[in-house]
Every structure is written in C-alpha cells, then in structure tokens.
C-alpha cells in the first residue's frame, strides 16, 4: 500500500518490474511470491478412552483419558532475488522443520446421584491432569542446488558457513481438583455449587494453586401451577456468581518455554556473545532474562449474572442478562523504565470491570410452506479500569507504535477504559501567520515553531506550552454496543439466511500511513488538506514529516476515527433439489448454494476495514496499521448427503 504507483507489476519481458524511483521500494507482488514459498503438512491423531463403573445404583466412577498428537512438517524456500537496490537476497535457502505437539488429558471422577421424592441431588468429586509437550527441530542451509520449493530440503544446500539448526522442547502442565453439587426440586428450583482448585506449572511454589468457587440458582417459574397460562410457555429466572482462573497469555514475541517460567529468575545465553582476540573468538555471555516475579498468581475472572429466559406464545423467545465481570489480579507485562536493565516482569496488575446488559429476542414461525426466523441480540457494555497497582494508577504504553517516531498513543489508567487512546486535542489549523502569533499563553507563543497550515494543539493545562501534560483521553477502542441480527427463511426447497453484525461507540487509531516514510502513499483524503488560507481547518499542510510542529509525530485526535460499523457478515442462499423439484432423488440432500461473507459494510470509517484493530499487548487494541482487511468472499457450492 505504501508502494509508489510509478512502475508496473511486470516488465515487458514478463519479469517482476523494479522501481527506478526509490531504492527501498520492492515490488509487493514479487515480495509476496518470493517470501511466502512454504508448504506444511500436519498429521494428527486424536484418541479418547474411558472406563465407567457403577458399583451401586447412583454411584458412578469414571476415568477418561484423551491423547492428541500433532505432527507438523514444514518446507520453506527463499529464492535469490533482486527487487530494488536495497532489497536483494544473494543466497537461496532451503528450510525444513518438524514440530511435534503431544497433549494428554486425564479426568477421574466419582459421582453419586440420588432422588428423594421430588428432591434430586448429584455430588461429584474429581481430578483433571493434563500436559502439553512441544518438541521441534528446524534448520536451513543456503545456496541450494535445485532452486525451487519442491526441492527445498536441507541436503540440497551447499553453504556450510551459514547453515543453522534450531531445536527446543517445552512442557506445560495443569492439575485440578474439583467438586460439584447439583440439586433440584421438582424441576422448579435448581441449585449448583462448584469448587475447583487449579494448579499450573506456569506459577511458582508461592502461588501455584488457585481456588475458584461458583454458585448458581434458578427458578423455573413456568413449572409452578400458579404460573400456568396460555401465553407463557417457559420462564426461568436465574442468578449466578462464580470465579475462574486464567493463565498468563503467550505473547507473540516470546516462545512457549519462556512464558512458562515467568515467575522464575531465568538466565539466558542467547545473543549475548562477544568476540575477543585477533581471530574474533566467540565467548558466550549470559544474563538474567527478565525481572522475575516469584509471586505471580492466577488471574481471576469473577462474574455476577442475573437474568431470565422466557418463551411466549410458542414463537417468541426472550432472554435478558445483567452482568458484571471483574477481572482481578490481571496478568500483564507492563513496560518498566530502561534502567531495570532487562525485560520487564509479568505481574498481577490491577482489575478491570465490564458491566452491562445483554438482551436477545427471537421469533420463529411457520406460515404454511414458509418458515421464518429472526433473532437479534444486543449488548451494552461499559469497560472500566478500577485499579492499577502503582502510585500513579497508570500502565504506560509504548512509543513508536504504529510507526517509528510517534509518541505514546495508548495507555491504561484507573477510571478509563482499557487501552484508551492517549494524545493531544487539536483545535483546527493555523490559517495564517497572524493566528500563530496570536496563539499565546503566559510564556508568549504557545507554538513558536508552527507555520501557517500546521495544527493548533490545545494547551489543556494552560501552562503556555504544548507537551505531554496536555495529553488526555482522545478515544476508546472498546465498543459500547455490539449487536447481531440473524434472519432465516425457508420456502419449499429454498433457504436463505442473513447474519448482520455491528458495533458502535468505539474508535480506531488510523496509523496506516507511516509518516517516518515520507514517500509512502496518501489516501485521497489528502486532497482536502490545508493549502492556503481557508482551505481546511482539519488536515494540516503536506510536509515530509520533519515539520518542526510535529503535526503527525505527536499523538493527537487527528488520527482517531469513529469506527462504528454494521456489517453483513454472511448471506446464504440455497436450494435443495430433494425438498423441491426432485423428491425422489436417491440422496438425503442435494443442495446448491451461494454464500457470501462481508459483502456489505456500512461505516463512516475511511480506512480499509473498521474491524481490523491491532494492539501490541493483549490490553491494547483498535490500532489500524494497514493489516490485510477481512476479505469479501462469494462461494458457490453443492451439498450432497447420502
């Protein structure tokens, strides 16, 4: 997207064309071709066996063992290429890799079920253990004798100096003890209590196990004699409260092995070598990997839910929930000042509350040959950080996201939504020198470096300078409302289903254009920029990105865009010949269908896709870095069932 439109994909000889304009600019089609030559094969064996005995009536002993073996073989090939002065690969490379993942799971339970008149109770206790082992060996050799993907095996490489082998093994295990009591009285009053104690290898001895209780109660009012009516078919009122535990997430930049031992003071010897002596002799260096946190413990999600489900007049379904979900001891890796000297610790960092209501309505009916169904649901959610365990109650985000040179654009802070956008408020464009000169505070000019056409930033704290103390919440990546509508129609052999999905109240930080690469493309929006007095009071003048006013390297609301959308997620239209024209077909079904996904999107957002939102941490999101948008697809197919 940032490639200039000044050269074709192929030249007249049919080869990939090169840019003669920018030495750092490669033909994107060629890059996709050359850098994505890979093939992988997965063999998977999944097995499950159980044993169940009932020594006396109601007493059940069960042992359940499951095994999942996954074998992945990969080949990759990188050809020699020369796509631009500075985008050159001199050595072809054959890569091979094998990854084995072995997971087993073993549940053992004892349960006892007994009815006493209208009372019915089940008591269950058990244990679960599981373990995942990953074993991999990867390697490559360069300067291959047969240069294509089919022959990209290590033995075809000839360069002994640059060959590489990588291999490792990791293990991860979980052990739980649990008990459960179910009780119900006459199918009217229902009660469940669960208690779990979960332990994981990802925590140290101090906090290896966590305890997680849960309770739920329900009243099926429609089973009461006094509630029997002809319009209310079913009504259940329910309440639940429970906790469950979450493990540390696996970060993209880390491998499994290191995230498994975040609590431990590990020492790494990777890439810390130094070469002494006249012949450059390698010495291995070792230093602590990260700041350890021996007290790391389970993150707890606590959820309180009150609601009801009802069915009315046979065709209408209603369900309603009010919920409050609180994440406590949030597991999070927070940036720390560089003087820590190594990677930051992973900590249990504060709590986050999500509170809202969820309503679902449905209607289904048959009108003769026509069946009709519509379901809609809407969730109103409010996200709030209720505590961050440091004095300032802030988790500071990174600078240089989404492009090198920009200041911090997101952070998490008590009293604000998770990962909110953080920046300066803008106040239009300086239309002329007089406006620059008249924008004064107690120290004289507030923006002395500004030229006409530059952005006027708001001096929120009124100290006469624009700096980080003027930054504030300028957007929220979390939607207030999410909704979906599902529509189903059937008539004789025809069936039609439509699914719509939408969100509103959220913003995206549009960081697609890299202002550190001034030669990259603009969207047509740039035509509306300031280019003389009165031309725009929103988009600043065009610069090479080095303007002293830092129009585009300070985080500001210029980047923040409304990203509400309604999307036709899917449409399926089918015709079943068996149900329609040819009922005598010797098949159970012969259905011809057309299905489309993401065909229509209604949004004010000008980027490629309002739904794509990157974040460098699990708690940051809604940053558009120009990721490949969700494709529109249309599929025509046939289902046949015998």
């Amino acid at each position: 997207m940032n490639v200039s439109p000044l050269f074709p994909v192929y030249d007249s000889a049919g080869n990939y064309a090169k840019s003669n304009f920018n030495p750092d600019e490669a033909n994107p089609v060629a890059i996709m071709d050359y850098q994505n030559q890979n093939r992988s094969k997965t063999d998977r064996i999944v097995g499950n066996a159980y044993l169940e005995v009932m020594p006396i009536k109601g007493l059940k002993l069960r042992s359940d063992f499951g095994l999942d073996l996954n074998y992945l073989n990969e080949n990759r090939f990188t050809p020699v290429y020369d796509l631009a002065t500075n985008i050159v690969n001199l050595h072809s490379r054959a890569f091979q890799g094998i990854t084995q993942t072995r997971t087993w799971n073993w549940d053992n339970t004892i349960s006892y079920q007994r009815d006493f008149g209208k009372h019915s109770a089940t008591v269950l206790v058990g244990t679960t253990a599981n373990e995942t082992n990953v074993f991999f060996v990867n390697g490559y050799k360069e300067d291959v004798t047969i240069a294509d993907l089919d022959h990209s095996i290590i033995n075809n490489g000839t360069n002994e100096d640059t060959k590489q082998i990588y291999g490792s093994r990791s293990e991860d295990a979980l052990l739980s003890y649990f008990g459960r009591i179910n009780y119900n009285y006459d199918e009217k009053y229902l009660f469940t209590a669960i208690f779990r104690r979960d332990g994981s290898t990802r925590f140290g001895a101090n906090n290896r196990f966590g305890s997680f209780p849960a309770f739920s109660a329900g009243w099926v009012a429609s089973n009461e004699e006094f509630m029997k009516t002809n319009w209310l078919d079913f009504l259940k009122v329910r309440a639940s409260w429970g906790r469950n535990g979450n493990l540390p997430a696996v970060y993209a930049y880390d491998n499994i092995a290191t995230t498994s031992y975040l609590y431990m003071a590990t020492i790494s010897s990777v890439n810390q070598d130094y070469y002494f002596g006249n012949g450059d002799v390698k010495f291995t260096g070792s230093s602590p990997d990260r700041v350890p946190n021996p007290d790391l413990k389970w993150e707890t999600s606590e959820q309180l839910d009150l609601g009801f489900d009802a069915q009315l007049l046979k065709d209408f379904n209603v369900s309603f929930d009010w919920y409050r979900k609180t994440t406590r001891d949030w597991i999070i890796t927070v940036p720390v000042p560089a003087l820590a000297g190594t990677k930051p610790p992973t900590v249990n960092g504060g709590s986050v509350k999500n509170q809202g209501v969820e309503v679902a309505l449905g209607y289904t009916h048959r009108f003769g040959e026509l069946s009709f169904g519509i379901n809609g649901n809407v969730t109103l959610n409010k996200n709030d950080v209720i505590d961050i365990p440091n004095a300032e109650k802030v988790i500071v985000g990174d600078a240089n996201v989404p492009f090198v040179g920009i200041d911090e654009i997101f952070r998490t802070q008590q009293g604000h939504p998770v990962g909110y956008f953080y920046g300066l408020k803008t106040d239009g464009i300086f239309q002329n020198e007089a406006e620059v000169q008249s924008y004064t505070g107690k120290n004289g000019l507030i923006q002395p470096n500004a030229k006409p056409g530059d952005v006027r930033f708001a001096d929120l704290n009124g100290d006469g300078v624009i700096d980080s103390r003027d930054k504030t919440e300028i957007g929220n990546p979390n939607p207030d409302v999410t909704y979906g509508i599902n529509l189903n129609l059937g008539y004789k052999g025809f069936d039609l289903s439509v699914f719509l999905y939408g969100v509103s109240g959220n913003q995206v930080f549009n960081g697609v254009r890299d202002y550190a690469a001034p030669l990259s493309n603009y969207t047509t929006e740039i035509l509306g920029r300031w280019h003389g007095e009165g031309t725009s009071n929103y988009l600043p003048r065009m610069t090479m990105g080095d303007d002293a006013n830092q129009n585009w390297t300070r985080s500001s609301d210029l980047f923040v865009k409304d990203a509400s959308f309604l999307r036709v997620r899917s449409i399926n239209l089918g015709y079943d010949f068996k149900k329609g024209l040819f009922p005598r077909l010797p098949l159970q079904q012969l259905r011809l269908y057309v299905s489309g996904s993401n065909l229509f999107t209604f949004t004010k957002y000008k980027g490629m896709d309002p739904e794509v939102g990157y974040g460098p941490y699990p708690w940051a999101s809604g940053i558009d870095v120009g990721t490949y948008p969700q494709p529109k697809t249309v599929i025509v197919g046939v289902n046949a069932r015998f």
Binding site: L51, T85, T266
Partner: protein, 519 residues
C-alpha cells in the same frame, strides 16, 4: 474391571500428590539460583556486560555526535529524519531511546557482575575474580560516561534494582562522575601492568590497565572542562590525571604506528590491522553473526556512512549518513596525510557518485567506510549488519594529545614532545611542528590538532562542549544560502541530548526533561 479402575485412581492420586508434576525447570534456560557459581559462569556474566558495547546502528553515539558536531551533517534519505534532527538540534520524542536503553542495559549487566562475584566458588586463586571485577568496573564507567555526556542528568544505579525501585530520580552530574572516576581508579589499580607486547593476541579486546588510565584522562578533561571544575569532585586531581596518562605513554608499550593512513581499513592491503600498537581499547566487531539480525556482533554503524544506495568502488554501499562538512576538508594544511586518510573527497578522488539525497556534500567518511574489497557478503554476512571493523574507542594518538593538554601548564617540554609525536607522524617530517605555549594559545593548538587527528572518531562534539557552550555554538552554527545546510546550535540545551519521552512517561514524574527540549 473394578481392579483396573482402582489402579487408575491410585495412579492419578500418585500423580496428583507428587509435587514434581507441576514443578518443572526450564529446558532452554539456566536458573539464577544455580548460576553465578563457577568461574565460567562469572566469565559469561562479564561477556554479557561486554556484549552491550556492540549495540547501536543509526543512533550509534559515534555517528550521532559527529552529526551533532561541526564536522558532519545528517544526510541519508528523505525518511531518515532522526539524522537531520540531531544535526539541527530539533525536538523529537524518542530518537535517543535506544542509546538510553543500551547504556542502562550495559550498566545493569556490569552491576550484576559486581554483585555476584562474591558468591562464585573461586578456589584458592582469586586473580580471576579481581580481574573480572576490574573489567566490570571499567565497563560500568564506560557506559555511564557516554550516558552522562549525552544526557547530563541521569539516574545513578549501582546495584541491580528490584521491581518497585525503578523510579530513581536524576543524580547530580558530580555524583555520576564520582562513580565513573572511582570505577576507573579501581580498574587501573587492579589490572596488571602488562605492556602491549605481552598481551596475548587472544585477549585483544579485553579491558586493560592502560584502557582504564586513558579513559580516566578523557573523563577528567571532559568533566573539568564542561563543568568548569578543577578536579573530579575530589576523586581525581589534575596531577593524578597527568600521572595516569604519562603511565600509558611510558609503560603501556603502545605507540604510534609509522603511517596514519595505514590505521584505517581503507588502506586495504597496507592496513596495519586491528589491535595494532596504537589500539589502546577497541570495541570488537565481527562478520560472524552471518546475517542474523538477532545478533549484534557486527559494526552496524558502518553501513550508515556507506555510499548511498550503490557502491562507488573502491568504497561500498550504505545509507549516506553524516556527509562531511567541506569546512573540515578545507581546514587541513597542505601536506597533512590525515586529510585524505580521514575524508573521501568525491571530486578529488575522481569518483562518480550520482545518488541524490538531502545534505549531500561530496565529502564522505574514509575512516570506518565499508570497502568493496572487504564487504560482509564475501564472508556470508549481510552488508547492513555484518561490517566487521572494530571501533577504536581509545587510540594512542588521543592519549598523547591528552598528555600534551594535561602537561601544558605543568611540564611544557613533555607537552611539546607528546604533541610533536602526533604532528610528525601526520606530516611524515619534523618541519611542521608548532610551538606550544601555556594557556589559551597552546590549548587552541592542541584542540585543533585533536580535530585533525581524531576527525570522525566520535570525539569532536565532546571536545567542543568541554571548551564551553559558546565555543561549541560558534563552531557548530552553520549559515548557508542553501537552507538544508543551515544549522543553529541551541545554547539553552547546553549541548545535552533530549531524554526519551517514553522514559519520562514511565518514570511517573521522577525524571525531568533537560532544558530546551519538549516534554
């Protein structure tokens, strides 16, 4: 059937109860409790402290300070905005973040060595322990000196910190220099006095007594000059500094090699080689990272100053950073062999260099220029990251000039002798000597000589600043009819660099930005 089941239950219970099921140790990592026990562990921790010396690429301190000085512009492509910002003293947010991080990472690793050596089982012989401690003290001083020269007001951290201790306020420069001076004194006192000829070739690159003494001289001159002091806060007096430098001159066995151009890779077959008799301390680089971007074993600064986009034989390609100011080329006297050995004049060498880019001057670095005949690709490396020329951090010629400066108002004869050695080598005769006099005139001659001798080696900016901000301002300001070459030093910054915004944010208010820079 029941028996099998009972057996299964027992087995599960056995797994459940055995602690070891959930108690694992990493397979690809060592663990701190069992590390730092043997002399080999100690060496590995020390190597990790050395490793950080190799970091830095577009923001390498040698390059950045040459760009900030009067000798170079920013250059590079349109996208390379940081180079132009350093050249013009413009505000940015985080262009200095990598340097800040590099130095604190190095300091942390040195602090780890210093804090762990007592727990190592050394046996009866503690020679190694003393040596490793001395080297770690030197490295910590080296990192702090670059850090405090750049940023002026920095937190002082002398032990590995625990979570919750990270909001360290900035220390006074005096306190930081006290630590640097005492670290270097420790290193100088505890490393053996083995002359250059006695140092095994396999140990080149390791810190020596001479390196510590020479760096002390440099620190003394900078601190006393920039802050207008007579000594380093009671830690090192001028007389001590003289003694240290004289010791390097007299006892180290280092000397000037016969010809200045032979000091540099550009001499190709005539190159005197790395670790030659003039190399008091060098940061070692190698091509042996072989194109692996995760390793930082090559000299990543070199590609930055290479000829932009395409090789111009005999010189190799790179990004065109730091175009040399023609004023430097013009300042050399006729007959000075250092001019053409330090700077490439595209015109004088009859080169064809068609690349177009901002602040192009037609003068390039010759010192550290990647050479076509010594390119990383020929050794299976990558041209961007595997250039392999060591950075000579302390050169014997620098030691002589420091000695001349320190003795100028003490032993003038000695000062003159040191100065003559450098000048005679440069002109290959004795007819270009100048007479040193005590006071400003003699100092001026020495500072000029430093500019010519040490051009592009990462000393000029500091040499200007230690003569006072007005001297730096006058030298650096560049007026030109061509706006791209206009540079105005901003005296309100006192020449200090902008503290990275990210670190200010993360410090939660305990760090204050330097004067003259945006918050």
């Amino acid at each position: 059937m029941k028996k099998i089941f009972v057996a299964a239950i027992i087995l599960t219970t056995a797994i459940s109860c055995s602690k070891s099921f959930l108690e694992r140790e990493p397979i690809d990592r060592k663990v701190e409790e069992t590390f730092y026990k043997t002399p080999q562990d100690a060496l590995e921790s020390l190597v990790a402290a050395y490793d950080e010396l190799q970091y830095g690429d577009y923001d390498n301190i040698q390059l950045v300070t040459e760009i900030a000085s009067d000798d170079c512009f920013g250059g590079g492509g349109e996208s390379d905005i940081p180079w132009k910002r350093w050249d013009r003293f413009e505000n940015d947010n985080n262009t200095n973040l990598n340097n800040w991080t590099k130095y604190y990472t190095g300091i942390y690793r040195a602090n780890i060595v210093l804090s762990k050596m007592d727990g190592v089982n050394w046996g009866s012989d503690t020679t190694l322990k003393t040596r490793y401690l001395a080297e770690a003290h030197f490295l910590r001083a080296y990192y702090y000196f670059d850090l405090v020269r750049m940023f002026g007001n920095v937190p002082l951290v002398t032990t590995p910190l625990s979570p919750g201790q990270y909001n360290v306020p900035q220390a006074t420069p005096e306190a930081v220099y006290q630590l640097i001076a005492s670290d270097l004194k420790f290193a100088a006192a505890n490393l053996p006095a083995i002359a250059y000829s006695g140092i095994p070739a396999a140990e080149y690159g390791r810190v020596t007594k001479w390196a510590a003494e020479a760096l002390l001289g440099r620190v003394f001159l900078y601190y006393t000059g920039y802050y207008g002091q007579n000594d380093i806060a009671g830690t090192v007096t001028k007389q001590e500094a003289r003694t240290y430098i004289d010791d390097v001159v007299n006892a180290s066995g280092y000397t000037l090699i016969d010809s200045f151009p032979r000091l540099w890779q550009s001499a190709l077959s005539r190159f005197a080689g790395e670790d030659n008799a003039e190399t008091v301390f060098a940061i070692k680089f190698t091509y042996k990272g072989l194109g692996d971007w995760n390793k930082h074993d090559g000299n990543r600064m070199q590609v930055m100053i290479g000829f932009r986009n395409d090789a111009v034989p005999p010189y190799y390609k790179g990004w065109g950073a730091g175009p040399v100011n023609p004023k430097l080329w013009e300042a050399y006297e006729t007959g000075d062999t250092r001019r053409a050995a330090s700077i490439i004049s595209v015109e004088a060498e009859g080169l064809s260099y068609p690349a177009i880019y901002p602040q192009k001057t037609g003068f390039m670095w010759k010192k550290y220029m990647p050479m076509m005949a010594l390119k990383a690709e020929d050794f299976n490396g990558d041209f961007q990251i595997d250039n392999f020329y060591d950075y000579v951090a302390i050169r014997f010629a620098d030691v002589l000039l420091m000695g001349a400066e320190l003795n100028l108002d003490g032993d003038l004869g000695k000062a003159q002798q040191y100065y003559n050695r450098v000048r005679d080598r440069a002109f290959l005769d004795q007819n270009h000597r100048r007479i040193l006099t005590p006071g400003a005139a003699g100092k001026k001659l020495i500072m000029d000589e430093r500019r010519f001798e040490l051009a592009l080696e990462g000393h000029r900016y500091w040499d200007l600043l230690r003569q006072g901000v007005p001297v730096a301002q006058q030298a650096i300001n560049n007026t030109s009819t061509d706006a791209q070459f206009s540079v105005s030093f901003r005296p309100e910054t006192k020449g200090l660099f902008q503290i990275p915004q990210q670190e200010l944010n993360l410090s939660n208010g305990s760090l204050k930005q330097n004067a003259g820079w945006n918050q």
